[in-house]
Symmetry: C2
Subunit: 192 residues, 2 copies
């Protein structure tokens, strides 16, 4: 941030009164421009069908991590709820209709200023199709998951926890809700 | 937002290519300035002691809702996790040392572009004291909660759910994790 989005004059870094952090403060109008973490929200679309349970993954058509596989997810927008964001992203990236179930994971990624949320979901039919941000969209059973080609650690972690809970569920245990912090950096990921 | 924070030139509202929402776009350098919901994170500090269970509330010294009671909470900062944010806000607003327990509520407030998280917490000692953003800090048993003077609907909702689960816990049921959407507006609250 170089300029004040209110008045257009230069900003500088300063600790405002009654604060203890460096903020971008306008040298002209005095506005303090706070920067806060963003929510990334997605779904874990499960198809049971007749065979083994399968999850719907998207291969990314955009950077970062173009060509890698991910769960449908993206930045939450103003005016929507987390559930609405999960459904919207699943439609936009995978063209998939889902019925949302409970929140499954909340993963802090403090070094990139993000919190990721993933909801369990039932895939309602097989008429999915890659959206503009996906190269392809495909169902994977547990043994088919391309673990070495998963785009983000929050997605790998969510997939591992999901299959673990899915197997435990067969023994009568309910799905959990899992909170974790992810501090591992991806190749080339900024270190601020 | 009137000016580009990158180059200082005016921004205008436009739908970028491959997007479907109005964004602030710089007329000069083309930067798209996305705006996303913020996380507000806090704690529910419980003191059991010898008598009835009590919760620690803060009376707000700042707008909005100056003079009303709230749980210690505030905007999550970059570089921290949700748990770190809950502990920091509890220290800053209530001078209170806590041991965090599980996440208890996640409340969407879409019309103000916020998601609120509250963690259950054990208050570790009675040496709390109002911070600069609080007029006073005080323990309340369930029957003493000033329900008509609670600052925000997310706090009223969290308190109601907490006492409900606390009473259920005495009958052997565990605390839950509750997700809700709050669409009720406060007096004077913007309606964008």
């Amino acid at each position: 941030m170089n300029f004040c989005s209110d008045c257009g004059k230069p900003v500088s870094l300063a600790v405002p009164p009654d604060d203890n952090r460096l903020r971008h403060v306008c040298s002209h109008c005095g506005t303090v421009h706070y920067q806060n973490p963003k929510l990334v929200v997605g779904s874990i679309p499960l198809w049971v069908g007749e065979g083994r349970p399968q999850l719907l993954l998207c291969r990314r058509a955009i950077e970062p991590r173009r060509g890698y596989w991910t769960l449908p997810a993206g930045f939450m927008e103003n005016e929507e709820t987390t559930e609405e964001a999960a459904q919207r992203e699943t439609i936009e990236e995978a063209g998939a209709r889902i019925a949302l179930q409970g929140l499954f994971t909340m993963l802090n990624v403090p070094h990139v200023h993000q919190v990721h949320l993933f909801y369990r979901a039932e895939l309602l039919d097989l008429s999915f199709a890659a959206g503009t941000e996906s190269l392809e969209v495909k169902l994977f059973s547990e043994s088919e998951i391309p673990w070495d080609e998963i785009a983000f650690p929050t997605v790998s972690q969510t997939l591992q926890l999901f299959f673990s809970d899915l197997n435990a569920q067969r023994e009568g245990r309910p799905f959990g809700f899992h909170c974790m912090d992810i501090r591992r950096r991806l190749p080339g990921e900024r270190s601020d």
